[in-house]
């Protein structure tokens, strides 16, 4: 009965409300503004105030305490005194076909002296003449009076040898490819790199800061898969795709594996997927091909289709340094952008003179020399395969082979024992050394390198010693 409001109630309600409004009209101004301010303050507090972060301001004393307490790690971690790098064999005399260690001469199957140019009298003579004309050092980078006429001659000769427009030389083999890659490939670009490339290429790729797509070693299908994936991405964003450069980085003959890259198919794919090919022919220069011109000659591919061939003067040529050849358009860029070229002292003239003479000998002896090295490599390969207990990795015509113990016995310890045993029998071989941060650390192996002047008897002797070593190690 009390729920319904009577007319009287409504009237009194209205009157109260009217009185409220009247009181507002009569209230002092400061009262009203204060009320409005309170209402606004409540609204702000509820809806808009963000919690204030407690500021971590340290006092001077606290900072000093932090500085006093901080202990850095020691400069270097403790070092294992038995590490092989600290216990290397010290050589005396010329390191040619034979090497002298502790007064004893042994056959050398460990250094990259493929064409036996180390100790060649013609080369040494030319180097001596260069010292008598130019002194030893070049005393400056290429831009500041470090360019000597003999450098220009060597660059021309190398370009002519490869039938390319221009050549450029570097003063260190490692820095050659490691400076070349970052000169062309920048942050936005894509590099398709074989997983088995050697360390200098890996560092070049890292220094470029580009996107890297590794494909399985010598696996064309894997490369095609990556290329197709990239094509799909390109179709989604064609505008961006027009600004991304693509490069394929491979080696002619892989130092870590001894096998040759499948170049013809890669050149075909180049024109389909529009990438540029940079090939590192450090080992294949002077060892593969009828006249030693590398894998392009081996596969009979037009060198104009390869954008850049880089190589080292430290292997077949028997000097120091590196070089690159290609079209002028590509090579000339390095003269201003390759860090290892612009900011480093140039190659000492005597080393350039040695390289020119080595190139002369290569051109004079030509086909007979390279047919010899390829046939000897094949013979060595056959002989090694016949020793039960070893597995041999590498192409049969490659003068660089990796030898491993078969049947899961392959450990560094056993391989080192084999090497030590061989040394007592006057054969110098070496376990291939790598740093632990390689992209794909190869299995432990002995890296055997054939010198073109090894006779058949000497190769036979090598195999005999390896056989004996195997017996000793596995017994």
């Amino acid at each position: 009965m009390g729920s319904s409001m009577t007319r009287g109630d409504i009237e009194s309600l209205a009157t109260d409300f009217y009185d409220l409004l009247e009181s507002f009209k009569h209230a002092p101004f400061y009262h009203i503004s204060f009320e409005i301010f309170l209402v606004l303050a409540v609204i702000w507090l509820v809806f808009f105030r963000k919690p204030r972060a407690i500021e971590k301001k340290l006092t001077e004393r606290e900072k000093q305490e932090l500085i006093d307490e901080w202990q850095p790690e020691p400069l270097v971690p403790p070092v294992d005194p038995n590490h092989p790098a600290l216990n290397v064999r010290v050589l005396d005399g010329i390191v040619g076909k034979t090497v002298e260690i502790d007064g004893k001469k042994s056959l050398n199957f460990a250094t990259f002296n493929f064409l036996n140019f180390v100790g060649n009298s013609r080369i040494s003579e030319k180097a001596i003449q260069a010292v008598q004309k130019y002194g030893v050092g070049s005393c400056g980078p290429r831009g500041f009076y470090g360019t000597i006429d003999i450098h220009l001659e060597l660059e021309e000769r190398l370009a002519k040898f490869f039938n390319c427009e221009e050549g450029i030389i570097y003063s260190y083999g490692f820095s050659t490819i490691a400076s070349i890659i970052p000169a062309y490939s920048k942050r936005n670009d894509i590099l398709f790199v074989d997983e088995g490339v050697h360390y200098a290429i890996q560092k070049g790729v890292e220094a470029s800061r580009s996107h890297v797509k590794w494909f399985k070693h010598n696996d064309i299908q894997d490369l095609e898969r990556l290329l197709a994936e990239q094509e799909v991405l390109d179709k989604k964003n064609p505008k961006k795709a027009r600004t991304i450069r693509r490069f394929l980085i491979i080696e002619g003959l892989y130092v870590n594996y001894g096998d040759i890259c499948p170049l013809p198919r890669m050149v075909e794919l180049k024109y389909k997927y529009k990438y540029r090919i940079f090939i590192d022919e450090s080992v294949s220069f002077g060892t593969i091909g009828q006249t030693g011109r590398g894998v392009t000659e081996y596969y009979d591919i037009d060198r104009q289709k390869i954008d850049l061939i880089s190589s080292s003067l430290e292997y077949s040529i028997g000097s120091i340094g590196g070089f690159a050849v290609g079209s002028s358009f590509v090579v000339d860029h390095q003269r201003l952008s390759a860090q290892g070229y612009c900011f480093s002292a140039s190659l000492p003239p005597l080393l350039a003179a040695a390289a020119i003479e080595a190139l002369n000998i290569m051109e004079e002896q030509s086909t007979p020399l390279f047919e010899t090295i390829m046939s000897k490599s094949k013979r060595l390969h056959k002989k090694l395969l016949s020793i039960k207990g070893y597995s041999v990795m590498g192409d049969e015509i490659s003068p660089l082979k990796h030898l491993r113990l078969a049947n899961a016995l392959n450990t560094i310890g056993r391989l080192e024992e084999i090497v030590q045993f061989a040394q007592t029998r006057d054969i110098t071989i070496t376990v291939a050394r790598y740093l632990t941060d390689e992209h794909l650390l190869p299995e432990p192996s002995i890296r055997l390198i054939l010198n073109v002047e090894m006779t058949d008897e000497e190769l036979e002797f090598l195999c005999t010693v390896l056989q004996e070593a195997l017996v000793k190690v596995t017994s």
């Binding site: 340290l58 850095p72 010329i94 180390v118 009076y145 490692f174 360390y199 560092k203 000339d332």
Partner: protein
């Protein structure tokens, strides 16, 4: 007034205050005069304008396109170079290309022969006339005059060639370590007064390939802003974080050290594992010397490690030629990692790192160069061994004194004539400021016409405003050679108005 003009001046006054007039650290970096700055910017602007005009003419086929063309251009490949990269090469660098990369035909000693080359098409191509130009060499790094083709060092190098051939074709960690490598390392360690050292075939690679072996992720590297490219590449590859501090500014360095330890890594706030300070002994573009005593103080206070690159200072500084440590007479064991090169003062090639045996052993195991790069060539090593032995003999002392003498004389005369010369009073690297790009090229060509070969550098090797000529003095420079050079500088400097200094009176050479 632009901000840069004043900040240089302020820093200058502060440096002088810091010195307590310590003579060994007396350096001057006079501020750029306003009119030179304005004219330089104007010069570059005009060059850009003409560059755009010429590019436009080339695009519309009014002018013939020179330079090489991409063989893959029409096949749908992405262009190999950015268009702005090659803008600079086509329109600015090519105009003045003849002052760089000059080939020589003799030993790079104090007097040498340049091969003459002519261009009929404004430096796009060259032809060699077959003649040579004789000139005094102020460009090669030959501080102690060991770039010689006769004499004890050359004879020893030739004997080295006969005994050991050119190369060993092997790496140091496998089959490639020869007895002379060990001899050199011991000799060098004794010379520097440290426990042990290790040598490499290339100076650039010594920094780039060994910093990653020493520093790694989780470390902090504080490097001077003027450090060489090889140090920066090494720092990048190492994976460590790096920050730069203002050139030779110990207050900035201290502030950064302080902040680094207190706050740790900027994002995670984790403490740093190690902190390195990387400096050079003598900076090759500025001519300044690092403040070693203050650096050692700071490093001890904040427990950081000091890496000093003595490429230009080993052999050239100090009364015994032992570098900056010798120059300031401090304890060599206070510098944790000493690095240097053999190219400059020893007339050879290659680099080294020296320090405690534990450090060197660690580098032997982890260095990229030790494991993958060919070992040093015999005649190169022999040249270094011979020059090191010579340095410790009276002949060597004579050369060191001669270099110091030449430095003092040359710098004094240049400053008295009213040119702006940067750097430390005793550094054999003498940069003289030219500012305008046109004056830089004109100076270079005019000096060559008078038989003096100099090295001029501009942007991007230096800041845009501060193009300069850099004289590298040598112990092989005789007083008549220096006088001939000063006379030529006086003449050319008057001709093209290079006397910018407002601190020193402008005078002619004959009035000194």
């Amino acid at each position: 007034m632009t901000g840069t003009l004043f900040s240089k001046a302020d820093k200058d006054i502060e440096i002088n205050k810091n010195n307590d007039c310590n003579d060994l650290q007396c350096e001057e970096f006079e501020e750029t005069p306003l009119y030179a700055a304005v004219l330089t910017y104007l010069g570059y602007a005009i060059l850009c304008l003409f560059g755009w005009l010429r590019d436009f003419l080339r695009q519309s086929n009014i002018e013939k396109k020179r330079g090489a063309v991409d063989p893959n251009a029409s096949l749908g490949f992405v262009p190999l170079y950015q268009s702005y990269e090659s803008f600079y090469t086509r329109n600015m660098y090519t105009r003045v290309r003849d002052i760089f990369n000059r080939p020589i035909a003799s030993v790079p000693g104090a007097q040498f022969e340049l091969t003459e080359r002519m261009s009929d098409d404004y430096n796009w191509t060259y032809r060699y006339t077959g003649k040579t130009i004789s000139a005094v060499n102020f460009g090669s790094y030959n501080y102690l005059g060991f770039a010689e083709r006769t004499g004890q060092c050359a004879t020893d190098a030739i004997n080295g060639l006969k005994s050991y051939a050119v190369s060993s074709c092997g790496t140091r960690s496998e089959i490639g370590t020869q007895r002379y490598h060990i001899e050199l390392e011991q000799l060098l360690a004794n010379f520097l007064g440290v426990e042990s050292s290790i040598v490499f075939g290339m100076g650039f690679a010594t920094n780039a390939l060994n910093l990653p072996a020493i520093a790694s992720k989780g470390d902090l590297i504080l490097s001077d802003e003027m450090n060489h490219v090889s140090l920066i590449i090494g720092m990048r590859i190492s994976g460590a974080s790096y920050q730069t501090f203002a050139h030779n500014d110990m207050n900035d360095l201290e502030a950064k050290l302080h902040a680094a330890i207190v706050h740790g890594h900027p994002r995670t706030n984790r403490p740093w594992k190690k902190i390195f300070i990387v400096v050079e002994g003598v900076y090759s573009m500025e001519g300044s010397i690092c403040r070693l005593p203050q650096l050692i103080e700071l490093k001890k206070k904040y427990k950081a490690y000091l890496y000093m690159d003595e490429a230009h200072s080993i052999g050239a500084m100090g009364k015994n030629g032992r570098g900056i440590v010798d120059y300031f007479n401090v304890d060599v064991n206070d510098v944790d990692i000493l690095m240097g090169t053999f190219t400059k003062s020893f007339g050879s090639a290659g680099g080294y790192i020296a320090g405690r045996k534990s450090l060197i052993d660690h580098i032997r195991i982890h260095s990229h160069a030790n494991t993958y790069a060919s070992s040093m060539s015999a005649p190169i090593v022999q040249q270094i061994i011979s020059s090191l032995r010579l340095l410790s003999s009276p002949e060597g002392e004579k050369r060191i004194c001669q270099l110091a003498d030449n430095t003092r004389y040359f710098r004094r005369k240049l400053v008295d004539m009213g040119f702006i010369v940067y750097g430390n009073k005793y550094s054999p690297v003498v940069p003289m400021l030219l500012y305008l790009p046109a004056r830089v090229t004109r100076f270079n060509r005019e000096m060559l016409r008078r038989g003096i070969a100099v090295v001029t550098v501009g942007f991007p090797a230096t800041k845009l405003l501060e193009a300069r000529v850099r004289f590298c003095l040598s112990a092989a420079h005789t007083r008549p050679m220096l006088d001939a050079a000063l006379a030529a500088i006086d003449e050319v400097g008057t001709d093209i108005r290079l006397r910018y200094s407002s601190r020193h009176v402008h005078r002619r050479l004959k009035d000194l």
